[in-house]
Subunit: 347 residues, 2 copies
């Protein structure tokens, strides 16, 4: 790869979020992007992406600089280290492989050069990585994009790409270094001029705020089978489930020093216009038979809130229901074995 002065960026996960990130980074002109694809590798490597983006316009057959079907092993391939590894996959710690093992081939163990950017939802997602890669700067990306992959390689982005970037605290690395990496990433992500990418001092605030939606409305929709419009129309949905759950998150956040304000509850209940009947990610995943990201989105804030002494009865029930839904998906995929059925015949 010629030295172009551009940053060398590896995007792991080229779905709805990753494809727009890759496109935006390349349009900005400050990055050369390699995208690692899995389910849509064949479609994209053969015909490129088909993208309709409210930020960037329409693209037919667009390809990032490089596509790969697995995470490159920089040691074995003797590749120069990436400047940024951007993770845009789902984060499902209860289902292998772990994020740490997924990214390992692309990160030298004693690395401080490569910065890892986690554009993923939930709480404490950096913790396993601080353990497995203690010297890697890890950056938090909280994305509010509205984007979907309707077919392999076909991306519809219908809500603006807003991204909050900040540094997770890593005790092994000076905060200045982390912070400057985060600011640099904001610069290269903002270079195209079409996104709202901002540096954020308060990563925890960004994450807890998004959890008001993601720990509550998201699993409630997945459990009830109702989208964010219908849950507002069905009796019991908002007042019986969503609002009590959101209040528990606001209280847990407050106990952790993150003051969101009561009004965030009303805001998040109505953040999706009713009439678009939007299926949040967990509901979409349940419908597709995919695993759900409930541990980081719901389990972690529940555990933190309970440990801080906040009563979280609603989230507790939602969490345990999510656990059974995850088990159901495991069974459907042949990942759990159950005793054979015994027929009770008539006697």
């Amino acid at each position: 790869m010629a030295d172009t002065g551009k940053k060398n960026v590896l995007v792991i996960g080229g779905g709805a979020v990753g494809a727009i990130a890759a496109l935006n980074l390349e349009i900005g002109g400050l990055a050369t992007v390699t995208v690692v694809l899995r389910s849509n590798f064949k479609a994209v490597s053969e015909a490129g992406y088909s993208i309709e983006s409210c930020d960037h316009g329409t693209f037919q057959g667009w390809k990032p600089s490089h596509v790969r079907n697995k995470v490159p092993d920089i040691t074995r391939e003797t590749l120069p280290p990436y400047d940024y590894v951007v993770l845009t996959t789902k984060n499902i710690p209860d289902i292998p492989p772990t994020i740490s093992s997924l990214i390992s081939p692309a990160l030298p163990t004693e690395n401080t050069h490569t910065t890892l950017v986690l554009i993923q939802n939930g709480l404490n997602i950096e913790k396993p990585i601080l353990q497995s890669h203690p010297h890697t700067p890890v950056i938090s990306g909280v994305s509010l994009i509205g984007s979907a992959e309707t077919d392999p390689g076909t991306i519809i982005q219908d809500d603006k790409d807003r991204l909050f970037i900040g540094a997770f605290r890593n005790p092994h690395i000076p905060f200045d270094l982390e912070s400057s990496k985060a600011r640099e990433f904001v610069k290269i992500y903002s270079a195209g001029g079409k996104t709202d990418c901002a540096y954020s001092e308060n990563v925890l605030y960004d994450r807890w705020r998004k959890l008001v939606y993601n720990a509550c409305l998201n699993p409630i929709c997945a459990i009830t089978g109702l989208d964010t419009g219908r849950i507002r129309l069905a009796g019991g949905g908002i007042e019986g489930l969503v609002r009590p759950a959101m209040k528990e998150i606001v209280e847990a956040a407050a106990k952790k020093g993150v003051l969101l304000g009561e009004e965030v509850v009303g805001f998040m209940i109505e953040v999706d216009p009713l009439e678009i009947y939007l299926a949040p990610s967990m509901l979409a995943d349940v419908r597709k038979g995919n695993f759900i990201e409930f541990e980081n989105l719901l389990g972690e804030p529940l555990r933190e809130g309970k440990a801080a002494g906040v009563p979280m009865p609603t989230l507790e029930v939602l969490y345990n229901i999510c656990k059974t839904i995850q088990w159901r998906t495991k069974e459907a995929r042949g990942l759990v074995e159950i005793p054979p059925k015994r027929n009770l015949g008539t006697q």
Copy 2:
């Protein structure tokens, strides 16, 4: 109808429970049975029932003395009053018609002759009838039968017909009258010699005890999509959901003077053998797209427990989820109207 000395019994609802009740009553020889059918009327009136019963054996083309496709209007048809009207339909007070309006044509308003037997689950099911038909003796039937209608008119009974019969308390009628009607019904129901039909002094005890299963395991299976075997295998199912819910019911019952004993929880968790993977009624109903009986099975004990000061956080969440599931079924059946979908196109 000739006077045979037999009791004249109307069974409303000829499904899995009603068909076996009708068969058993006719086999006993002390009753002439008319069965009111709805969805399976055509099948049964043309070809009779096909029944495989662990209590009674195998029957092909069996018909009760009379079948009808609606509740007889005894005034308009100038029929003699029935001795017993036995209700074996589901009881879903949130979906019309009400039970009171369903049975009205078969009961003279000033009736004290006809006794109503409710072989239905849940709490407070007699209350609307004590209002609409204050002079009708109303008998409680708590059935523990295992029976299913696999096709219209095809009944498989694979677990013994056990029935607890007792009198609901009606302030307008002497208890002796109610009690003697209940005991008489036990006699005619037991005449065939194959069932465990017993008179029970303590109707509330029978009902609360069955609620330990029906207010907890039943809706939890419906919500999670897991049968009673799988819910025991899925992490979080029993310890996170079923056991806490059952404990809330036991506590509520105790506050209402019904002492079930802690051991009922363990008993009900394992009452269905794991390996038969039994789908309780609400799960079966959700799978068939039917309405669920959640108001009497879950809503009433929840309201009674809360009014008595028992904290019921688990049942509260389960109840509100059931409410949204019922709404989903209403939408599927065109019973609710929602604003049209607005497409968010790319800009």
